[in-house]
């Protein structure tokens, strides 16, 4: 067993456990904070998969941005004074089984599929190459997504600030 | 004008609509009357100039008063109108019923302009159906009838009008959609070059062409198309078991609309059989024929039996229509010359007779405000003229010799007897039952001790006489000289008979 495999095992257990806590915790804040660990674990996977830059983006944007946003959201939409914000589930068993069965479908399908595989994956720094790609092949999405972010920002502000009904 | 006479005839009623909205609303009925009468008058050259000796039907160059323009060239859809023996009498019937139904609408006093504009639209659409020779044009006219009819029943009808109107609309649209799909499939798999020109299609079929397509959901193409088309038209006829909309629609519709419904609309189904459904698929027709005859007999006997049980006069007549339409189907199904000619004659005769019956029911309904057969009694002594007129209509409905209904039923039965003896005899039972329900209801309404409630009932007034008299004259005249009408279509229908029975 190679070292990366050990890391993989670790991250797998780590991510699935934390994700389960996110999913099944009944305290909203617990979920929100635990999500940070999930995202961190994901970054670990990315590193294992040769995506050093992506892992960094994951940590900065996702863990640092989105997750913080979610925590803020949790607090803003609940009673801030209360430490516990409910994150209860309902139709639990049924949901659980339908989720699990869906996963079973996915796994069966994957199992049946013969993927074309590379001889061996490469793990080397990708930042430079990604930069080039972003400014050449992916210049258009790169530009367009800026509009997306702009619209998202302005729009969110707008909808929150909208006048009360008159 | 003669060169575009069909267009004029079809669209003249539409010209009435703007006029009608321009004038005060109490003038609406006069505008409508003027429009329908004018339509009748400008159509006279058609009946005079019609060449009775050429069959048309499957011969493109034998259609008369043809108007043919490219309409949607990309699709090969044409504005193609023309008539042959098959359509000419139906046009006559439609024009006639149009005028009479206008008279029958004289008492409409709710949204006159809306009523009469819908009425005129309906009239134009009905005429269009009978002259269109392009499948798409035909279908458009066919469906255009639906929404005026919906409103005419729905707004101006009886207490359960909404139900009846939507039921009518649903049934007919259901059939219509099937028809449309079949038309498209027929277009796609036309023998030879694709076309919507039904005469051209027929010409190719009669020259040996066959609609060949892939199996549809595991069933042979031609059979499926045939059956779907059949259902589409059968709903209009209506044929058991698609008939249940008819009693409801009749009961709820205002008098004039019942008249049109029974007089013209039902004929479109059988017209469709003769023009499109059967001749296009002669082989399937041969396969389907026994079943068709069975349906016809069921229609006749079943309709008559149901009519016996009805308590509402209009419903009784509606079921009698079902029974009578069964005769038409019987004649067409037998497809012998007499049978098919008789069917066509019956289409005309049933149009006039049933129209008269509904007009008469309308007269009594206007006065008594109900139609319960058992709610009357002894009216013959109070309203003798009305009773006499009714007896004429009833006797014509029974098929008394000397009145028009007899000749057509005779021809149908004689024709079908050549091919289906037992069915014909069973259908003959329908005639007996017909006498039963007609006389029984007549007796309950007009005979027996006078119902005191109605001792001051007034007899028919002048407008009603004007709307009834022409029908009476036609019924009697055609009983004596049916060939006055038969001569128009005989050649064409003999031709169809040859197409169907090679």
């Amino acid at each position: 067993m190679h070292v990366p495999d050990l890391f993989f095992m670790f991250f797998t257990i780590f991510v699935l456990v934390t994700a389960s806590i996110v999913a099944f915790s009944s305290n909203m804040l617990h979920s929100a904070f635990t999500l940070f660990f999930v995202l961190f674990g994901m970054a670990g996977f990315y590193v294992l998969l040769g995506g050093d830059f992506v892992a960094m983006v994951q940590l900065m944007v996702y863990a640092g941005g989105v997750n913080v946003l979610l925590i803020f959201g949790t607090m803003l939409t609940g009673d801030i004074a209360k430490p516990e914000i409910s994150n209860l589930s309902f139709q639990g068993i049924l949901t659980f089984f339908s989720g699990v069965s869906f996963m079973a479908v996915l796994l069966t399908v994957f199992e049946k599929t013969e993927w074309t595989l590379l001889e061996k994956g490469v793990r080397e720094p990708t930042t430079a190459e990604l930069g080039k790609l972003l400014l050449k092949d992916y210049i258009l999405p790169f530009e367009v997504i800026s509009f997306l972010l702009l619209a998202a920002m302005v729009g969110s502000v707008l909808i929150v600030l909208q006048r009360e009904k008159d | 004008m003669l060169s575009h006479i069909l267009t004029w005839v079809v669209f003249l009623p539409l010209l009435g609509i703007p006029v009608l909205f321009a004038l005060p609303k109490d003038k609406a009925k006069w505008v409508t009357l003027a429009a329908t009468i004018a339509d009748f008058i400008i159509a006279i050259p058609i009946f005079i100039g019609f060449n009775k000796s050429i069959p048309g039907v499957s011969n493109p160059n034998q259609m008369q008063f043809v108007e043919k323009f490219d309409w949607i060239p990309s699709l090969g859809v044409q504005y193609y109108m023309g008539i042959d023996g098959l359509s000419v009498t139906m046009i006559l019937l439609t024009l006639l019923i149009g005028v009479l139904a206008t008279l029958a609408s004289w008492n409409i006093n709710k949204f006159e302009r809306g009523y009469f504009s819908m009425f005129l639209l309906l009239q134009a659409a009905m005429l269009g159906v009978f002259v269109a020779l392009d499948l798409i044009l035909f279908f458009i006219f066919w469906e255009v009838m639906l929404f005026p009819m919906y409103f005419l029943i729905g707004v101006w009808g009886g207490p359960r009008r909404v139900y009846a109107a939507i039921k009518f609309f649903l049934y007919t649209l259901f059939g219509g959609v099937g028809m449309l799909l079949s038309f498209i499939a027929m277009w796609y798999f036309t023998p030879g070059e694709r076309t919507f020109d039904m005469i051209e299609m027929l010409a190719r079929v009669s020259a040996g062409g066959v609609f060949e397509g892939p199996d549809i959901l595991g069933m042979p193409f031609a059979k499926v198309i045939f059956v779907v088309l059949f259902v589409g038209f059968a709903i209009k006829v209506p044929i058991f078991p698609f008939h249940t909309w008819l009693p409801d629609a009749h009961v709820e519709a205002p008098t004039a609309i019942s008249v049109i419904l029974a007089g013209v609309l039902l004929k479109m189904g059988t017209y469709g059989f003769l023009r499109i459904n059967f001749p296009m698929f002669p082989e399937v027709f041969a396969w389907f024929r026994d079943f068709l005859i069975a349906l016809a007999v069921i229609n006749i006997v079943y309709g008559a039996l149901c009519a016996l049980a009805q308590k509402d006069l209009k419903k009784m007549i509606a079921y009698s229509s079902i029974s009578h339409m069964g005769f038409i189907l019987l004649g067409i199904g037998a497809a012998t010359t007499q049978g098919i000619n008789g069917a066509m004659l019956q289409m005309f005769n049933h149009g006039t007779i049933t129209a008269m019956l509904f007009l008469l029911v309308g007269v009594i309904y206007d006065r008594a405000h109900h139609r319960e057969i058992n709610g009357f009694g002894g009216l013959a002594s109070v309203v003798p003229i009305f009773a006499t007129l009714t007896s004429f209509a009833f006797m014509a409905g029974i098929g008394l010799p000397g009145l028009s209904g007899f000749v057509s039923e005779l021809l149908i039965l004689a024709g079908s007897f050549k091919e289906y003896q037992v069915a014909t005899i069973l259908a003959g039972l329908g005639i007996i039952l017909g006498a039963g329900y007609m006389l029984w209801s007549y007796q309950r309404v007009f005979f027996g001790p006078l119902n005191e409630k109605y001792k001051d009932l007034s007899d028919v007034n002048i407008i009603e006489v004007f709307s009834l008299a022409p029908l009476l004259v036609i019924i009697v005249y055609l009983g004596i000289f049916p060939n006055a009408v038969i001569q128009y279509f005989e050649v064409s229908l003999n031709h169809i008979s040859r197409l169907l029975l090679p």
Binding site: L49, G50, F53, V66, L70, F102 | -
Partner: protein, 103 residues
């Protein structure tokens, strides 16, 4: 560890995300489920980028993953904005109580 191991992890995350999505009462909780789903998709892209040959650049998958992260951010912004607006309107964001629109 091979491709299928990663796919299993991503399938697991996907299923957890779905479960959250279907079962959470709090809107923010549902959003978290969405994040899990998006992460599973990104993980897939990363894994495929690493294990399978790519027609274009081998890093296409990684680029896609980056964009997924950005999209997630944008979506989260909008979703939270709307959630807060809704909170102002109804004083809660419990999905099971937001049922005035139905039928």
């Amino acid at each position: 560890m091979g491709l299928s191991a990663y796919l299993m992890v991503s399938a697991g995350l996907f299923a957890l995300g779905m479960i959250m999505f279907i079962s959470k009462k709090n809107t923010i909780g549902i959003l978290m489920g969405v994040e899990l789903v998006l992460n599973s998709a990104a993980l897939n892209f990363m894994a495929f980028s690493y294990f399978t040959p790519s027609k274009g650049n081998q890093l296409d998958g990684q680029i896609f993953a980056i964009f997924i992260i950005l999209l997630a951010a944008a979506e989260a912004v909008v979703a939270l904005g709307i959630a807060i607006a809704a909170y102002k309107e109804y004083n809660h964001v419990q999905a099971d109580e937001l049922i005035s629109l139905k039928g």
